[in-house]
């Protein structure tokens, strides 16, 4: 059933987008990857707003890969808003970033990130990480129950 779930990749660097997609492919993860190029777009997608108006917001992505350094709405702000909204409160969010700053780590976890992964420069290790990550979140991890829409 998870096979139908999308993976939301919030990343502004197209090279990183492509490399991530490639790594997922290499890991034989066939789920659709929805890419949001900035925080605003990501939130629009999750809440069915803007370009994504009318989307069933109860259909949460299987996992969201969140970069922190984003145009418009920064990653941590995106996370804060996601967790603040009842509909997306239970969304699995994995922070995937170049930053190793302690503050970022701490803020990420404080805001309710489910995981924090630093992108290594060595792409081999990056692909491995993505592979493991996809496997874990899409296969092993039990999805959160849907949030009932308010009456």
């Amino acid at each position: 059933m998870n096979n139908y779930k999308v993976i939301l990749l919030i990343e502004d660097n197209s090279s990183d987008v492509d490399l991530t997609k490639r790594a997922l492919e290499k890991g034989r993860i066939a789920n659709e990857v929805v890419v949001a190029r900035d925080g605003k777009e990501a939130l629009d997608f999750l809440w069915g707003e803007g370009a994504f108006a009318g989307r069933d917001v109860s259909d949460l992505p299987a996992v969201t890969l969140l970069d922190l350094k984003l145009p418009k709405v920064p990653g941590l702000e995106v996370l804060r808003r996601v967790r603040a909204d009842a509909r997306t409160r239970r969304l699995p969010v994995v922070i995937l970033t170049s930053s190793k700053e302690e503050e970022d780590l701490a803020a990420g976890y404080d805001l309710g990130a489910n995981s924090y992964i630093r992108k290594p420069v060595d792409f081999k290790r990056f692909s491995e990480a993505i592979e493991q990550l996809g496997l874990y979140w899409l296969v092993w991890n039990e999805q959160p129950p849907k949030v009932k829409p308010p009456l």
Binding site: S15, R22, K69, S99, E101, P120, V121, D122, F123, F126
Partner: protein, 854 residues
Amino acid sequence: MGFYNPAGFFKRFATAPYALAALAVAAAIGLRLAFDPVLASYSPYLPFVAAVLLVARLGGRGPALLATALSSLSVWYFFLEPRFSFAISQPTAAVGLGLFSVIAIALSLLEAPGGLLSGRDAADRLKRSYADEIGAPLLRRIAMMAGGALALGILASLLWSGFQRSMDAKRLVDHTYQVLNAAAALRSSLETAETSQRGYLLTANDRYLDAYESAVVSERRARASLRALTVDSRVQQARLDEFDRLVGTRLALLASAIEVRRRQGAEAAANQVRSSGGKELMDQLRAMVDAVDDEERRLLEIRTMAARAADLRTRWILGLGTGSLVLLLILAGGSMERHIHERERAENVLARQARLIDLSHDAIITADGHRVITGWNSGAQEMYGWTEKEATGQVMHELLHTGHSIPVSEMDRILSQEGRWHGELAHTRSNGRQILVESRQVLQRDNAGRPAGYLEINRDITERKRAEEALRESRARLEAALASMTDAVFIADAEGRFIHFNDAFARFHRFPGKEQCSTTFAEYPAILDLCYADGTPVPPEMWNVPRALRGETGNNVEFALRRRDTGESWVGSYCFGPVRDQGGRIVGAVVVARDITDRKRAEEEIRQLNTELEQRVRERTAELETANRELEAFAYSVSHDLRAPLRGIDGWSLALMEDYCGECEKLDGKGRSYLERVRSETQRMGHLIDDLLQLSRITRAEMHRHAVDLSATAESVAARLRDIHPQRCLEFAIRPGLTAFGDARLLEIALTNLLDNAVKFTGPRAHARIEFDTVACEGRTAFVVRDNGVGFDMAYAGTLFGAFQRLHSDSEFSGTGIGLATVQRVVHRHGGRIWAEAAPDRGAAFYFTLGTET
């Protein structure tokens, strides 16, 4: 100690007891003679024993012995038979006399109080001195005694002549009796001759003739005796001449009658007797003898009366004399007792004074006119070290090497003019030490006014002088110290009078000089206004002096002062406190004041400067903070944005390798190796960025200081390194228990870098040994990480800790050149210091200290 010399007075005084001895013996003689009629020559000794006892008790041994001698002689002369001569008729009397003498001598020796008037002890010497003082009245007493003795002599001579006369009268009476006896004997022998003759005439018995003959002889003897006895009486002699003639006739008649009887018979004889008238003759003779007898009886009567009168007179004299003697003795004894009493009292006083003199620590010395020492008390012995024996007889100034403060002649002049002198002298003790004495001297003169001696009392004032000197010096020091002080110092007594103040005091209070200063506290409220820092006036009772006198102390108490006259104002800083005596009572106050006007101004300037500086610092800090924020943002971009392309380069290189190498062979081995090189450089760049980020983070990171167990940190780092390099043989020698006060995370980074370096540079060693320890360095503890690796040339040590500085090529040891820079940054942030010691191929040691140690 030997004080006063025996004075001449005493010699005269000393004879008094001997006079007493003579007096007592004379009294005994008188007393005994008074009892002579009763006792005759019995018990002549009793009064003399009493006399000797009395003299021994009152006068001492010598006078008692004299009394003994006088008594023996008197008894011998007056009372032993034959009396009134030094002959002795009976041996027992001689034995008695000897016995008396022995007993009396024994009494003298035993009974004498042993030096009441004589002796050699101190009391005796005192007596002599006492004699000096009271000799004159005693002399009068002795004169009285001499008068008494004269009276006694007169009495004795009167007695003597009385006795003599009495004896003569008695002798005359005896003579008369002898004459009477002789006359009676004459008459009796005449009658015996006549009776015997008659008997013969009647009986012609020759027996009567014999009686007749003997009667004639005794009549002749009696007549001769009578003549001899009456030789001094012419009347009697004349009578005896007539008597002789008649007796001759009568005897011739008797003889012729006897002749007639013998030849012619009784009848013729009777006739003859009848015719011769013998009876008449005999009657005549009897009458003559009676006349003699009568004459003598008359004389006897006269003489007996005369003898009685003489006897009576003698007894009167004796009685009166003895009575007056006893009276005299009682008086003399009483006077003597009184005198002894007084003397004992005086002796006690003098003995006390003598002990007092010896109690004195002062040297009390007497000397004669030539300053030869005659007396030396124990104080002198103490002071000079010479004993009395050693000092006596020495010349004063020679013994003590006297040093005079004034010329000796001047001292002698004062002594001779004024009789006394006092001043200071230098003397030398027996041990050679010099002492300073305060001397008082008195000159004594004899009766002629010549200097007879010196009395001297010396007190050791060496210590006092030294103390005075020390006090003067300390006073001078105090004055000098006070004068040299720039702070105003003043010391007030309990009444607020300033007893000490210095020049700075005058300057402080804006007086022109020390002499113009007001010197009592009470004057100052009129001169000055004193205010607290906020401008409220200080009431006078809260000024420093009254507060100090109440026992308060103050330190750096600041007041603003203003001269009321000139209006000049300044700021003073005061320290004050009470001055207490040994009992803790407050006797004064000491105040130190400093003019801090300039300092206050400077402080104000500094305060302003500080304010400005703080403002500037704030601005600068804000600028810095901005810069820091920018730097942070920059570092963030670096970490994020620089890594993204790198990751892209690496990712796409790998994609190229994966997709175009292998089976398809679109890229040959060379191309593949180039791609490998691209990837390796990319990764190196990644490391560089990471290290740079760490360095910048360390610089910016907030410090959280705690006690850190460095040994444990090093152990965990070592364990990690062992895991990373499982193929290496690594020996870590980490001293346990090393701790530091600092930021645990930063210190771990530093230790990680150092140990990692050590592991890296011991790579060529089969056995790597890495130590973490401490060493003492310049009094502090330095931590050290030491290895046995390849080391380096100390010539390059200066560049060791700069970022991107490497001493080895990348082909030898890979690295970014940022590790040691990071360590240095950590150490510096802890306020410490880092340095290295190494030699090529001989290992390296990195030392560091941390600002705060625990």
